[in-house]
């Protein structure tokens, strides 16, 4: 079609261009004095980062992601060489480790790891151990649930004892859920399996019930349920501020969320916003979804200076003072015992005395079949 | 003809574009202080020749020498030439002064020298009052002079002019013709002047090279080219003439026109065999017109229009066979009236006779 077959000359030119460009191509792992993290933006405290950079004479280079699968995709495409530190929640770290994207960590090199709440101590918190080798694969960081935040003035508290309230036409047009498909499906699955009574029957994977492992029949029911729910939703929010605004303005009366907006709403009220009786239901009678965000070290990090840097960064992040600040900024509960430096309200707000409830929640997990879940979600969106 | 006096020498130069021959084996010697016109219809290859001399194009064969030095492979900007384009091609983002200074700056002349030269060239071209204007603020004639100045300012080895007057109106053109010739004599460098306008070529140049279909048709003093065309093409192209078909009579000394009842003696220097078909070209101003009632030989015609051309009258005649012929005569107080029947004839020495198809034979 074109008379521009790759002549020897044009190949030479291309080669020369590539050679000239080599300094750019050099992957960032060649740079010795940086720590690169793939993380959630909410956990980034600029002043702490600056302090860390100055103390260790390094540059901290963060990249941000939104959902676990997004981070997973980035990691798999050579990302374990591109990043030193990674964040993930639920069961994802185990998957990462199985795939060889992570390295085992050493709790003894992170002094502040001794301050964990009992549920998150190395021995107790099995989610961060490799089931095969028993090696520790990461550090718990923040935790929370995917509960229901509601305006108690408009929704009776007892109605939120069940997930049904998120699917009730009484609140048509005044409900909202996250735009993330995994949690929407898993939460609907809790309701569906409860209605069907299929939890105690043999599960597709032969293991105990997990809302992330569903039979085709259950998925079909979930799809129906979510399609019914659609007409009741004002929107599926992308970001917390949107939900904050929707709840505060009264446009939305109940929403499933990570308890972060709930805390922001209470904080806003404390700072003088119009008082509304916002409450948060952590666990419904059908069950609830929980998450623990973690810090992980990628398999690209070798023992030595880089590993030490990673450890000291994690140590800084889980130090009580920093942890408390992050809890306040991001609105999440912490895995480190901060009760000694917190007041009564904070203890209540950040669920410091309720960390044992995490055990009853279903941890965020990888969908049993991303393909099938994707199809369900597409059908819901298209309906 | 490789004599030492030739300043510019073009040696068997050809330029092919694939199978197409834009220029075919052209040789030309130009001496210093010569004004040479390259005349040809559009597409004849005359501009190609100019571009080859300028170095904007390279010949496929042949060499080009400046002052005895082979410049065939030399880049155009190192040839030290000046060139004036038909579209002027003044740099629109620069003032007249900057345009004039441009060739000097390119030759890295000293600042003082540049100013001096610009003043000088602006002086002889009467541009001194408009040095700070932009080209868009100038009239066509002024732009023309700036273009000329830009070509001359750096004292080039030679000046190439590519139909520089084609975009000017008629009066201005005649004025400029005289000017340009004057500058050439004043500067003493060769001007190579490409044009398709034979009047310009005739009025300005010392010699004329006629080019047709990439070949050099004729080369010579302008008077000779005009008066004694060597080929039918030159006869047709240089000057305004009318063409007739004829046959050489069995006596070998008389030519009889095929379409008209007119015959005349073959000039003695022409040798044709009896029965040869010939083409006869007669310059419009060489016709004789005599009123019919006076009698005599000639093509019977009728005056259908008379056009006044300054000191001349242009008679538009229609022959009895329906052909239109134009004859030019000096203006007289008693022009031949319209519809007057006349006889058209010419002095055999004033016409040019070629064997029919001579043009084709050359190709």
């Amino acid at each position: 079609m074109f008379d521009t077959k790759l002549t020897r000359r044009s190949v030479l030119v291309a080669g020369a261009t590539t050679a000239l460009a080599m300094p750019f191509v050099r992957p960032s792992w060649a740079a010795p004095d940086t720590v690169r993290a793939l993380m959630w933006e909410a956990y980034l405290l600029p002043d702490q980062i600056t302090a860390f950079e100055e103390a260790n004479k390094v540059k901290f280079v963060p990249s941000f992601f939104d959902g676990n699968s997004e981070a997973y995709n980035k990691l798999r495409v050579g990302g374990s060489k591109e990043f030193d530190l990674v964040q993930a929640d639920g069961f994802w770290p185990q998957l990462y480790f199985r795939e060889g994207l992570l390295r085992a960590v050493d709790y003894s090199k992170v002094p502040n790891a001794s301050g964990y709440l009992p549920e998150f101590e190395a021995e107790a918190f099995k989610v961060l151990s490799d089931p095969k080798s028993g090696k520790k694969i990461g550090f718990p960081f923040c935790w929370g649930a995917y509960g229901i935040t509601y305006d108690a003035g408009k929704v009776q508290p007892e109605r939120t004892e069940t997930l049904e309230c998120m699917f009730s036409s009484d609140y048509s047009g005044m409900l909202s859920t996250s735009a993330r498909f995994e949690e929407n499906i898993a939460l609907a699955a809790l309701l569906v399996t409860d209605r069907l009574g299929s939890r105690d029957k043999p599960r597709p994977d032969g293991k105990p019930f997990n809302p992330y492992v569903l039979s085709d029949e259950e998925l079909a029911e979930v799809e129906k349920l979510l399609i019914q729910q659609k007409s009741l939703l004002l929107t599926r929010y992308q970001d917390n501020p949107t939900l904050f605004q929707l709840l505060q303005s009264g446009a939305v009366v109940a929403a499933t969320e990570f308890a972060q907006v709930f805390r922001q709403l209470l904080t806003a009220e404390a700072q003088g916003a119009a008082p509304v009786d916002f409450r948060h239901a952590l666990k419904m009678k059908e069950g609830g979804l929980g998450w623990v965000d973690t810090w992980l070290v990628t398999s690209g990090v070798q023992d030595g200076a880089k590993f030490d840097l990673c450890n000291s960064f994690i140590d800084l992040m889980i130090s009580p003072a920093v942890m408390k600040k992050i809890g306040e900024v991001a609105g999440c509960s912490t895995t480190v015992d901060l009760r000694s430096i917190s007041n009564e309200t904070e203890r209540k707000l950040f669920l410091m005395d309720r960390s044992n409830e995490i055990a009853d929640l279903f941890m965020f997990d990888q969908p049993s079949s991303p393909e099938k879940w994707e199809r369900v979600w597409s059908n819901v969106q298209a309906a | 003809m490789s004599n030492a006096s030739s300043y510019i020498r073009i040696d068997n130069v050809s330029r092919r574009y694939g199978a197409f021959k834009a220029l075919d084996d052209v040789s030309l010697d130009i001496s210093k202080e010569e004004f040479i016109a390259i005349l040809g219809p559009s597409g004849s290859g005359k501009s190609t020749l100019l571009r080859l001399i300028a170095g904007l194009d390279r010949p496929t064969e042949g060499r080009i020498h400046f002052e005895g030095k082979d410049v065939t492979e030399l880049a155009p900007h190192k040839r030290g030439i000046g060139m004036v384009f038909q579209e002027f091609l003044l740099f629109p983002h620069r003032t007249v002064r900057e345009n004039l200074a441009f060739p000097l700056r390119m030759r890295n002349e000293a600042k003082g020298e540049i100013e001096e030269r610009v003043e000088w060239v602006a002086g002889i071209l009467s541009l001194s009052t408009m040095l700070d204007r932009y080209p868009s603020q100038l009239s066509g004639g002024q732009q023309q002079r700036v273009a000329l100045g830009r070509g001359l300012v750096a004292r080039p080895t030679l000046l190439l002019l590519d139909e520089p007057l084609a975009n000017l109106d008629r009066e201005l053109r005649q004025e400029m013709e005289i000017e340009i010739r004057r500058y050439q004599k004043q500067l003493g460098i060769p001007f190579i002047y490409v044009t398709h306008n034979q009047e310009e070529a005739l009025s300005m140049s010392d010699r004329i090279a006629v080019i047709n279909n990439g070949r050099l048709e004729a080369l010579g003093e302008r008077q000779a080219i005009y008066d004694h065309p060597q080929t039918p093409f030159v006869a047709r192209f240089v000057g305004k003439s009318s063409k007739f078909q004829g046959v050489v009579e069995p006596d070998g000394a008389t030519v009889r026109l095929t379409r008209h009842d007119y015959e005349f003696a073959l000039p003695s220097d022409k040798t044709f065999k009896p029965g040869d078909a010939v083409e006869i070209f007669v310059k419009n101003e060489r016709f004789d017109i005599t009123p019919k009632q006076h009698g005599g030989a000639g093509i019977p015609s009728k005056v259908v229009d008379v056009v006044l051309r300054g000191p001349f009258l242009e008679y538009v005649l229609e022959t009895d066979r329906g052909d239109t012929v134009i004859a030019v005569k000096p203006k007289r107080n008693d022009p031949i009236p319209l519809q007057e029947r006349v006889l058209l004839s010419w002095n055999p020495a004033d016409c040019h006779i070629f064997k029919d198809g001579a043009d084709d034979a050359r190709r």
């Binding site: 079609m1 074109f2 750019f24 191509v25 992957p27 960032s28 690169r36 793939l38 959630w40 933006e41 909410a42 980034l44 600029p46 002043d47 980062i49 600056t50 901290f60 280079v61 963060p62 990249s63 941000f64 992601f65 939104d66 980035k74 495409v77 050579g78 990302g79 060489k81 591109e82 992308q238 970001d239 917390n240 501020p241 904050f244 605004q245 972060q260 991001a330 | 300028a54 170095g55 904007l56 880049a75 155009p76 900007h77 190192k78 030290g80 030439i81 000046g82 060139m83 384009f85 579209e87 091609l89 740099f91 983002h93 441009f102 060739p103 390119m106 030759r107 830009r150 750096a154 190439l160």
Partner: protein, 266 residues
């Protein structure tokens, strides 16, 4: 109705419409400015004047380096795509002959392939062939592919009217080809070249779709904004964006003043 009355009616109707359109275009920009100056960035009405976010921005090295990375990315993309676009333009206008149309369609083709597709397909290629995570260079290249077509069209529109013999005129005046380019061609065609540079710069400064899939561990403004979404965009980001807008606005006002001064001078 006299024609002149109709004319001015048309003129003023159009002017009013233009004002409306500009108001529509600038409302979100003003919103961002308000948000950067407000203690309540989610709903910054009525506007406040609180520079806290600007102060925080001055110490936030992450946003600063994201900005610098964006700047680097956009500058390299602008230069690369303009140079390639220039070559393509010259090639099509001067040397392509009968194939000019085919070349022109080929060079304009990336324009008609969505950015997201370009980003995704480049990522797919790098991953499948080289197992390579994106980096600055891959992002620059992918952005340049998209911007290249814009540059090509802009410069083609400009150079289409350019008289190429202008270069020859310069060369016979003794200018080397390089010098004739800088002294003659560039000054005459700079609006097209500048337009091409500006367009490519602006397009790649904030192009999320292409960069998102190709940037790897290099934060840029759009990727930082994207990462910040879940928890809400921080006012610092609004502040950064507003700062850029203010600076560019200042430059445009300077240009306006320059035009006015020039008119007075003439």
């Amino acid at each position: 109705m006299s024609p002149s009355f109709t004319d001015s009616l048309i003129k003023w109707t159009l002017a009013a419409f233009l004002a409306l359109v500009f108001a529509f275009l600038y409302m979100p920009i003003v919103h961002i400015l308000f948000a950067s100056l407000s203690t309540r960035p989610n709903f910054p009405y009525p506007p406040e004047f609180n520079v806290a976010s600007y102060v925080r921005l001055s110490t936030n090295t992450v946003y600063q380096s994201a900005f610098l990375n964006s700047l680097l990315l956009a500058s390299c993309t602008a230069v690369l795509s303009t140079v390639l676009g220039f070559l393509a333009t010259v090639g099509v206008l001067r040397f392509a002959g009968k194939r000019a149309l085919i070349y022109a369609i080929f060079f304009a083709a990336p324009l008609f392939v969505s950015e997201i597709l370009l980003g995704i397909s480049s990522m797919a290629l790098y991953y499948m062939l080289f197992e390579l995570q994106g980096n600055m260079l891959t992002a620059i290249i992918a952005n340049a592919v998209h911007c290249f077509s814009f540059c090509f069209l802009i410069m083609a529109a400009m150079l289409y009217k350019y008289d190429w013999r202008m270069n020859e005129a310069a060369i016979v005046c003794g200018a080397s080809p390089l010098r004739s380019f800088f002294e003659v061609m560039l000054p005459i065609t700079w609006p097209g070249i500048m337009g091409s540079l500006i367009t490519a710069f602006v397009l790649s400064l904030n192009g999320l779709d292409v960069s998102f899939y190709l940037l790897g561990a290099t934060p840029t403004m759009p990727s930082v904004a994207w990462g910040a979404l879940r928890y809400g965009v921080k006012p610092e980001l609004y502040a950064l964006s507003s700062l850029i807008n203010i600076i560019v606005f200042a430059m445009i006002i300077a240009l306006l003043v320059a035009i006015r001064l020039k008119r007075k001078a003439v």
